[in-house]
Each structure stands twice: as structure tokens, then as C-alpha cells.
Symmetry: C3
Subunit: 138 residues, 3 copies
């Protein structure tokens, strides 16, 4: 069984946002997969997906602080045409990665209790973001 669908996420502020519920609600067919996988690709190069702590907003704020410090805007970037937040966003996106592959078990995501899906918006005004969701299994 294969399900493939384009999802659109509304614009978010720069930072790390929990989107687990938004993803699962957009894919009711997951309920029919006993054992399988869900693959998500964000079709952009300045935003990324991650899986991390789903409870404390402090954790997500600290992610933003660390990434801003590790990949600073004030650096001798060559690529500057699209603004100071652009080139750091490409690097942050590559470090975290554009996709997640997650197990499906008994019709649900088989995540740990504390795991949630993050949309990592690295740009100041990234606008809406497109995902391709592909689920398959038996």
C-alpha cells in the first residue's frame, strides 16, 4: 500500500516548531498500515525537518540559540544576494537534513514518548513550505 501526498505548511516564524499533529492529521491513511514507514521531504533548501523533544518550548528555543551561534549571519559569506539570513539557513538545513523516515506500527507513528516532528524554519520570512509525504507498508 502506497500513499503519496503534497502537504503545505503555513508560514512560521524563524525557529523550531512542533508539527507532529499537523502531519498525522493530514494523513488519515496511516491508520491502515500495520507495519511500514512514513517518509517526509521538505522541498526547500533553507528549512529542514528534525525529530526531537516534544514537550518543553525551552528546548526549541535553545536549538535556535545554538544554531544561530554555530552558523552566524555575520561571517564572510560569498553568497549574500538573498539577505544575511540566507546562507546560514542553507548550512543549518543541511546539518539537520531535509527529510525524516519514521516507522509506522499498528496504524500509528512508532515514535518514542518524547519525540516530535520539528519544522526548522531557518529564514526570517520563509513563507509557506511544501512537503512530500510518502507512506507505504502492509
Amino acid at each position: 500500500m502506497w500513499v503519496q501526498r503534497q502537504l503545505t505548511l503555513e508560514p512560521r516564524s524563524r525557529g523550531f516548531h512542533l508539527i507532529t499533529r499537523e502531519i498525522t492529521e493530514a494523513l488519515p491513511e496511516l491508520g491502515a498500515i500495520g507495519a511500514g514507514l512514513l517518509h517526509l521531504l521538505i522541498q526547500h533548501t533553507t528549512a529542514s525537518l528534525a525529530l526531537n523533544e516534544n514537550a518543553s518550548p525551552d528546548v526549541r528555543r535553545d536549538f535556535e540559540t545554538w544554531f544561530d551561534s554555530a552558523v552566524p549571519e555575520r561571517a564572510p559569506w560569498t553568497h549574500r544576494l538573498e539577505g544575511p539570513d540566507d546562507m546560514p539557513s542553507h548550512i543549518k538545513a543541511a546539518l539537520l537534513g531535509p527529510s525524516l523516515t519514521l516507522p509506522l506500527s499498528d496504524g500509528r507513528l512508532a515514535l518514542g514518548v518524547w519525540q516530535g516532528i520539528y519544522l526548522c524554519e531557518h529564514r526570517d520570512r520563509g513563507g509557506s513550505r511544501s512537503l512530500v509525504a510518502t507512506a507505504f507498508g502492509e
Copy 2:
């Protein structure tokens, strides 16, 4: 053909640990897959999985040194409730990622000669760690 199984890894010290053999021995069904994939998810947010050099312990020690320096415990973290090693562990885990997808070929993992699976334990006392292993193919 689909195989899905929960695996439990015994507690490890903080650092990078080679677990390739432990994984393959827990999944004898891989031998029946001619062409396919193995997906592993660690169901935690302060430990991660990676694929890297399977020979020299020095490499794994240098991984620990670099990650400790790049994501230091002594930093103005907001999230401190669970101890100084917790928030850095979340970030290290996101940088390395919670999952691996690996090709299966003729009943075996089709890795490079020097590649091995790392359990990356970022906490001082992470305890035992749960994985979901999903293998499929023909």
C-alpha cells in the same frame, strides 16, 4: 516481505559505540531479503545513530571530543531541569539524527568495508535505549 521489531540496547557510557553486530544478530530475517532496506529509529531525543569508521577506537574518541567542544555544557542554556548534559544531548542528537536507512543486498547489509553503525550516547547516564527496526524488500 516486512519485518518490524523493537530492540533494546543495554546502557552504555557516554560516547560513540559500535553496534553493527548487535543489530544484525538481532535480525536473522535479513538473510532472506535479496534487495531491500533496513530502517532503524532510536526512540530517544538525547541519543542518536550514525554510520562511520568501524576500526579505530581513536576515531570514536575524537567524535566525542569534537561534539563536546561544539555543543558545550557550559553555555547559557534555558533548558536546565534535567542536568547540564541534557540540552547539549538534544542538539547533538539532532545533528547526527535519530535514524539510519541502509541497503540490504543478498541477505546482508550493503555497507562499505569501513562502515559500522554507531550508537551515539550523549548523556552521562542514558540508560537502556529502544530501537525500532523495520526491514523490507524482496
Copy 3:
């Protein structure tokens, strides 16, 4: 439908190289997959795969600059046997990751307009690099 094939990439200079066309041309069978996934694994521990901006060469140069600065050769590495560029290459490779999983839709990679596949060559003389490509779908 499953396709699995070993690909060999010719030696590249240290840096980030766009290889999308090389990959798709080596896998004409992708055209027969209506909905599926393509998985790529680089079978090495000092080179990696990433998905990022496919237009400006400046972006790829800035990637090299940032990674060289974040994981410097001049550092107290324990593992030095294979030259000063070796240990940093292992860490860069783990940060970016050894594999990509990408959606296939109507016989083509369903990437964003600006997304391209990077071969990230972290060594000065990495030589040719082997990939395992696994495509499947319906």
C-alpha cells in the same frame, strides 16, 4: 518494483559537487515508478551526501568554508595516521550523513525547484566513491 545498483562516482576535488543528473541518468528505471522512493548510500566514511541549493556555486563554496572552520584540521585529534584531513572528514561526513532518501513521483525525483544532490568530498584526495542506489515503488 525494486531496482538496486552499485554506482561509481569519479574522483572529485575536496568540496561540494552537484551530482543530480549523474544519478538520474544512471537509473533510467526510475521512469517506471509512479510513486516510490530512491535511497542512496555512499559506502565511505569521509565523504557524504546532502540535498541543497542547485544553482549558485557560491553556496557550495560557502559550505566548504563553514565546514572547514567548524571542524578544523589543526586540532588535537587522536586519530592522525591517515593525514590531517582524515579525522575532520569523518566528522563532517557524520554531520551531513551517508545517505539520502528521496521521493519518486510520476517517474521522477519529486524535489523542490532549488534542490540538488551534493556529493560532499571531505578529503583532499578521496578517489572514486561508491554508491548503492535502491529504488522501489509501484
